[in-house]
Amino acid sequence: MDKRVADLAAAVAGIEDGMTVMIGGFGGAGSPIELIHALIDRFRATGSPRNLTVVNNNAGNGHVGLAALIEAGMVRKLICSFPRSADPVVFTELYLAGKIELELVPQGTLAERIRAGGAGIPAFYTPTSYGTDLAKGKPVEEFEGRPYVRERWLKADAALIKAETADPQGNLTYRAAARNFNPLMCMAAKETIVQASRILPPGGIDPETVVTPGLFVRKIVEVPHPRQEEDLNRAGAVYPLEA
């Protein structure tokens, strides 16, 4: 069992036009910059993949990572909770021009919908968003006298994930708050693609400390010194990055 692939290009090779792609991260923490850029590289070389639906908490920042993916014109629709940030100009302009679709989801509902997708739960009830515009058109039901909104699972064709360590079986750990949506997205995608800062030998991760068991992971590529989106944006970086 060895889920390692040769390079970033091989890692993202299976992502096709029209797919739904979950991308880990909350702001810059846990955002798989190198995988995203490899996907843009392919698009610039081949014109594909395009018309992607992307699931992420945010809408990108600056001109790297998710923002660069949007800027390249590869994203048809974004499913997220908070498309505002210090510099979301790329998304904002396209959105206000009607050129990108937005499905706004409360953050906890987004997390739970992704977890439900991974856990085989097609629908669940939550108090979140009851009585608000974001509950419009959704079934409502009372349990023990309190109203709840029914929400559906969210699944993806692929997930791009940033991990701290991996082993060849695909077991993963994360770094600090870079964990966020990453473990959930690993569960909810058909093809979970991971960049890890270090790939350890089998048994290199204590089974007690594995956060994502390998069964949720399809491909791993080692990216020894990953760039951090926040650092890049503070330095004014723009895709493509210098090596």
Binding site: F26, G27, G28, A29, G30, N57, A59, S81, F82, P83, R84, S85, A86, P88, F91, T92, Y95, L96, L102, L104, V105, P106, Q107, G108, T109, L110, A111, E112, I114, R115, T126, P127, T128, S129, Y130, G131, T132, D133, L134, Y174, R175, A176, A177, A178, R179, N180, F181, N182, P183, L184, V211, Q228, E229, E230, D231
Partner: protein, 222 residues
Amino acid sequence: MDKLSTNQIAWRAAQDIADGAYVNLGIGFPEKVAQYQPPGREAIFHTENGILNFGESPAPGEEDWDLINAGKKAVTLKPGSAFFHHADSFAMVRGGHLDVAILGAYEVAENGDLANWSTGPKGVPAVGGAMDLVHGAKRVAVIMDHVAKDGRPKLVQRCSLPLTGVGCVTRIYTSLAVIDVEGGRFVLREKPPALSFEALQAATGAELLLSGPVADLIAPEL
């Protein structure tokens, strides 16, 4: 001038947080509350993006951008902290495991409705974790200026802006008052001693009830 500063509003809200309470502070203004924990009391702060028991901001240049709060500000860890993923984080929120959530607001209605995520159809909408927090924490409090910048009341009979949550707010700390929501009405608890009830009522968009004594709202210089 009897109007509390934002720091003083945050200070006042902090006085109601019990020792050992689990607390979520909204992005921006509510984050200030953490600075004013009363001596001898220790609150444990939760952030939606997966940290329990984080502490102050690091010194400039010392930031680790993988160690941030929900407002994407760099934080530090206290001993006994924990990391967890977003579904576990919102299990804490939705499951009623937080003692207090303190949020900002555009409007709070006398029935406890809160509007704090959207100022209308213009621009890019963004909701974050606010809709989850208002239906999860055991106590949902708001801190805000008593009136908007243009002087219009933020405490209203019914919210005119898109709702964040229905009947969720139980206490509001403003620059001019501490107000509880009880039985679908605003009940005044505290006001600055030099501010008349009539003047306060005039700055408030719904009737203020008096139920029991009104304490003096006094905060230290901050």
